[in-house]
Symmetry: C2
Subunit: 210 residues, 2 copies
């Protein structure tokens, strides 16, 4: 059952719905119609209804959607009701910034281990978590039920590290290395290519055709 795949375009929009619903909830608003949400979020009401109905009928005709309920349901769809165990590979500036960012933890994404090949920082702590040598990574992942590896290492090492982690049964990568990871189908990769993003901005800033 549940044979139709839901498109990544839809999935990409869910966190945004989740965010706006959270804000409505925090304001104490109880119900919202697709049209009201459409006005706030600047997407069509049609798209909102279409998107939500991929996952079930969360609304009620003549009423709209219950904010609290829809918020909770989207949270569940996104897997935010479960804890995720993460490791971070690469304790440079970006790795440290991510570990220090509290909001991930609030959503159930818990950093369990930090790994780095630089001996000078091994043994130091970042937000109470010890930086470990790379040699310990594989056993750590196996023994601590790690779901997600965050790669904040230079691209040269990333492919090989990813291979190791695949062999240890990792489920997904949050990849900040500037390289495309090729992993088996059942393993997920979400890449954040910061320089690609900046280049896109650079393009859009140029005045085209006037």
């Amino acid at each position: 059952m549940e044979s139709r795949e839901i498109s990544q375009a839809v999935i990409s929009r869910l966190p945004r719905y989740f965010r706006y619903l959270g804000e409505l909830r925090d304001k104490g608003i109880e119900r919202v119609s697709s049209q009201e949400l459409s006005d706030i979020m600047r997407v069509t009401a049609s798209q909102i209804r279409q998107d939500l109905n991929n996952f079930g009928g969360f609304g009620q005709q003549g009423y709209g959607y219950n904010v609290e309920y829809l918020y909770e349901e989207i949270g569940k769809i996104l897997g935010l009701n479960k804890e995720h165990n993460l490791i971070i590979v690469g304790a440079g500036h970006l790795g440290q910034a991510l570990v220090n960012y509290m909001n991930f933890e609030r959503r159930g994404f818990i950093f369990r281990g930090i790994f780095d090949s630089d001996e000078k920082i091994q043994g130091t702590q970042i937000r109470g978590i010890t930086v470990r040598p790379m040699q310990e990574m594989e056993s750590f992942v196996r023994e601590n039920d790690i779901d997600i590896a965050v790669l904040t290492i230079p691209k040269t090492g990333a492919v090989q590290v990813a291979e190791q982690l695949v062999a240890c049964g990792i489920k997904g990568f949050w990849n900040f290395a500037h390289v495309d990871l090729h992993v088996p189908d059942h393993i997920q990769v979400e890449s954040v290519h910061l320089s690609d993003s900046l280049m896109k901005l650079s393009y859009n800033i140029l005045s085209h055709g006037e």
Copy 2:
């Protein structure tokens, strides 16, 4: 002239072409066909040709594309042949990480100023750049020909800071705050919503329908 707008889907792929062409160039490879590039990049050859032809005929029948030339041309399309002056607003962990990341500078994105409302870090330096108080931001932007503002502040402050910067003539925002910025049409926003990205990964990790 140049009346047709080029879709953001195409623009998003340009940095990736640029990256692969750079790698081919570094390997000393002189020419590449759309089919070869297709095999390496795992996109269709048709898409590559279609994408490139939005900007002009860079290839040659029977030969393919000259790697060096195409690399340079895509760089120009992305505006990488020009320097961009950036400021960063918010000198927290993420802000520091971005300032410290050398590769942006290599591509012509130069951090000129850092601003933060926290008096304790004002006056300190990050990679040789002094952290300034927010009050100095507007005049700094006006006097230093700043194109891009990188927002690494909490979402509560972001909207108001963005408004100020729009009034100072900023061209674009690289927005890491967890909020959607609404700015006039001629101003560009490229958002990096890290938690959205992580939630998407979380969804994809769940085993759906088996």
